[in-house]
C-alpha cells in the first residue's frame, strides 16, 4: 500500500488502485482478519455460493450456467423494472392513448438500448472498484462537484418517489381502497423489504414484486392490438405522431426520462457493490442488465398497446391520471383488463419506491461515510435505514395532502430526469475512462462513442424542450 507520504496535508488514507487480488493473499490480510464485519461475512456467503456454482469438472453442479445466472442477476433486472415505475408507465400509456401504435413503439426500444449503454458502465465501475457512484464522484472530483451531483440526485429522487406513491394511491384507488390505507400499506411493504438485514433477501423479495410488471401484458392482449400494425410500427417507426408539436416534444422527453435517469446510475452501481460482484462477474452483470432491458421494454410496449384503444376511439387522454386511464379503459378492454392495468400501476409504484429510496440511502451513506449496505443490521447502519424509510415517508405524506397538484408532478418528473442526466453521464464517462480507477476495465472506443452519443442526444432533447418552451411559435404553438 503506497501512502501519500509526500504531502503533509494529505488525507489519512492510502491510495486505492484497481486490483483483483484475493483479500487472503494481500499483505494486509492479518490486519483485515481482525476487522471483519457482519457485512463482510454475509458478502462472503454470497461469494461462496457463486464460487460453488462456478466450479467445473468433478463436483460441478447441474445446470451450472443457469444457477450462476440466478445467483448473479439482480441489480440489472431491478434497475430496469424499477425504472418501469408509475410515471414511466403513465408516460408510455400517454404515448399509446394520444398517438396509438406507431412511432413510440420503436422509440421506447431505442431508449432502453440507450439505458443499457450507460448502465453497463455502472456494472463495470461497481465490480472493479467495489465503491458506489456517489463515493467515487466525491473521491475523484471533490466535494464541490460531488454536492452538485448529490443535489440533482436527491431532488430527482424525492420528486420521483412522490410520483411512485401517486401511482400506488391511484392504482389501488381503482379498487375503491382509501388513499391512507393504500399509502400506509405501501410503506409497510417498503419497511418489510429492508428489515431483512440481508442484501440477497431484499433483492429476491424486490425482484419477486418487480416481475408483476408483466401485468401489462395480459392487459395489452385484452386490448386486442392489431399485431400487423405492431410489427409494421416496430420496423418502420410509422405512423409518426401528429398534432401539437410542443406536446409531442414533451412526451418524447418524458419517454426518454422514463428510461434513463440519474437514480439508476447510483442504484445499480451501489447494488453491484452490495451484492459483492467482482470483475469476473462483469459478463453476468451485462447479461443481467440486458435481461432487465428486455423485460422492461416488453412491459413498456404492453402499456402502450393496452392504452392504444383510447386513441382509436378518439378519447382525449391529455389530462389523464392513473385511475382515469384504468376507468377509461374499462368499457374498451373490460373490467379485468382495466383492473390489471390499475394493479400494474400500483406494482410499478411500489417496486420503484423501494429501489429509489434505497438509491438515496446508498448515496447518503457513501457521502457521509457511514454504513451503507443492506447486509448491515438495523442497529449498525441506522442512518442508512433512516434515510431510506424517511425519504419514503416524506414522499408518501405529500401525496396525502388534499388538492396536491399530482398531475403536474408526474409530468414534470420525467422531464427533470432527462435534464439532470447529462452532468451525471459526464461524471460516469470520466470515471469509466479513468485508468487509475478502472485499470484494464476502462471503456473501449465503441462504449465511449455510444456513451457520448447518448449524452449529446439528451442535451439536444433538453435544449429542444427549452427552446420550444421559451419560443413556442417555433413549433407552431
Amino acid at each position: 500500500m503506497d501512502g501519500s507520504k509526500n504531502d503533509p496535508n494529505a488525507a489519512p488514507y492510502v491510495h486505492a488502485h484497481p486490483t483483483t487480488e484475493s483479500a487472503a493473499a494481500s499483505a494486509a490480510a492479518p490486519e483485515l482478519a481482525t476487522l471483519l464485519t457482519h457485512e463482510d461475512v454475509d458478502r462472503a456467503r454470497d461469494r461462496w455460493q457463486v464460487a460453488r456454482a462456478r466450479r467445473t469438472g468433478r463436483g460441478a453442479q447441474k445446470f451450472r450456467g443457469v444457477r450462476l445466472l440466478w445467483l448473479l442477476i439482480g441489480p440489472g433486472v431491478l434497475v430496469f423494472l424499477g425504472e418501469n415505475d408509475a410515471p414511466s408507465m403513465l408516460s408510455y400509456s400517454a404515448d399509446g392513448a394520444r398517438y396509438g401504435i406507431g412511432f413510440f413503439l420503436p422509440f421506447v426500444v431505442l431508449t432502453f438500448l440507450m439505458g443499457y449503454v450507460v448502465q453497463e458502465m455502472t456494472v463495470r465501475l461497481g465490480a472493479v472498484t467495489h465503491r458506489g457512484h456517489a463515493e467515487l464522484i466525491f473521491d475523484r472530483f471533490g466535494k464541490f462537484w460531488g454536492f452538485f451531483a448529490m443535489g440533482d440526485l436527491i431532488l430527482g429522487n424525492f420528486l420521483t418517489l412522490v410520483t411512485e406513491f401517486i401511482g400506488v394511491r391511484a392504482g389501488l384507488g381503482f379498487f375503491g381502497i382509501r388513499p391512507t390505507i393504500a399509502i400506509g400499506g405501501a410503506l409497510v411493504i417498503v419497511a418489510g423489504a429492508i428489515t431483512t438485514g440481508r442484501y440477497w433477501t431484499w433483492e429476491r423479495i424486490t425482484m419477486g414484486l418487480a416481475i408483476f410488471n408483466c401485468l401489462f401484458i395480459p392487459a395489452a392482449i385484452l386490448a386486442r392490438p392489431n399485431w400487423h400494425s405492431v410489427g409494421h410500427a416496430l420496423v418502420t417507426w410509422m405512423p409518426l405522431p401528429n398534432g401539437n408539436r410542443y406536446e409531442i416534444l414533451v412526451l418524447i422527453l418524458a419517454t426518454i426520462g422514463a428510461t434513463v435517469t440519474p437514480w439508476m446510475l447510483f442504484f445499480q452501481q451501489s447494488a453491484v457493490v452490495d451484492k459483492g460482484m467482482q470483475p469476473r462477474d462483469i459478463n453476468a452483470g451485462r447479461l443481467d442488465t440486458m435481461l432487465g432491458v428486455l423485460l422492461a421494454s416488453v412491459f413498456a410496449i404492453a402499456a402502450i398497446l393496452a392504452t392504444a384503444p383510447l386513441f382509436h376511439h378518439g378519447i382525449n387522454a391529455a389530462d389523464f391520471q392513473a385511475a382515469e386511464f384504468a376507468e377509461a379503459l374499462q368499457p374498451l378492454i373490460g373490467h379485468t383488463g382495466a383492473a390489471l392495468f390499475a394493479l400494474g400501476i400500483f406494482e410499478a409504484g411500489i417496486v420503484a419506491a423501494i429501489a429509489i429510496s434505497t438509491s438515496s440511502a446508498y448515496a447518503f451513506g457513501e457521502v457521509l461515510q457511514t454504513g451503507h449496505s443492506l447486509n448491515r443490521p438495523l442497529r449498525d447502519a441506522w442512518p442508512f435505514y433512516l434515510v431510506l424509510l424517511g425519504s419514503a415517508c416524506a414522499a408518501a405524506g405529500l401525496v396525502l395532502i388534499p388538492r396536491f397538484p399530482l398531475e403536474f408532478v408526474v409530468l414534470t418528473v420525467n422531464v427533470i430526469a432527462v435534464l439532470a442526466m447529462p452532468p451525471a453521464l459526464a461524471f460516469l464517462l470520466l470515471l469509466v475512462n479513468d485508468r487509475e480507477v478502472m485499470g484494464e476495465y476502462v471503456n473501449g472506443t465503441w462504449a465511449n462513442v455510444a456513451g457520448i452519443g447518448v449524452t449529446l442526444l439528451l442535451i439536444c432533447a433538453g435544449v429542444g424542450f427549452g427552446l420550444a418552451t421559451v419560443f413556442p411559435k417555433w413549433l407552431g404553438g
Binding site: L35, V41, R280
Partner: protein, 85 residues
Amino acid sequence: MYEVTNKNGVEPVAVDDGQPRLEDPGVVLSLLEADQVVAAKELMRFGPQKLSRGTRAMFWCLRVYVVVMMIIVLVSVLQAFRAAH
C-alpha cells in the same frame, strides 16, 4: 473439497458441498477481493483526480445548462398550473 481458481489467477477459493465455515476469517478473506473488505475500503480511497481546465469548463457548462433548464421547467409548470386554475 474442490478448488476454484478464478479467471485472474489469484488465490484459489476453497468450496465444498457443505456450508461455508465463515467463522474462520481466513475463509471469509479467501472469498473476497482485497479492496472488497469493509475495513480495507475505509483505509484506502481513490484520491482526487487533477481536473484539466477543459473538464472544469465542461462541468460548469453542464451546471449552467441544468440550472437554466430547471428554471424553464419551473416557469412552464407554473404557467400550466395557472392556466388549469
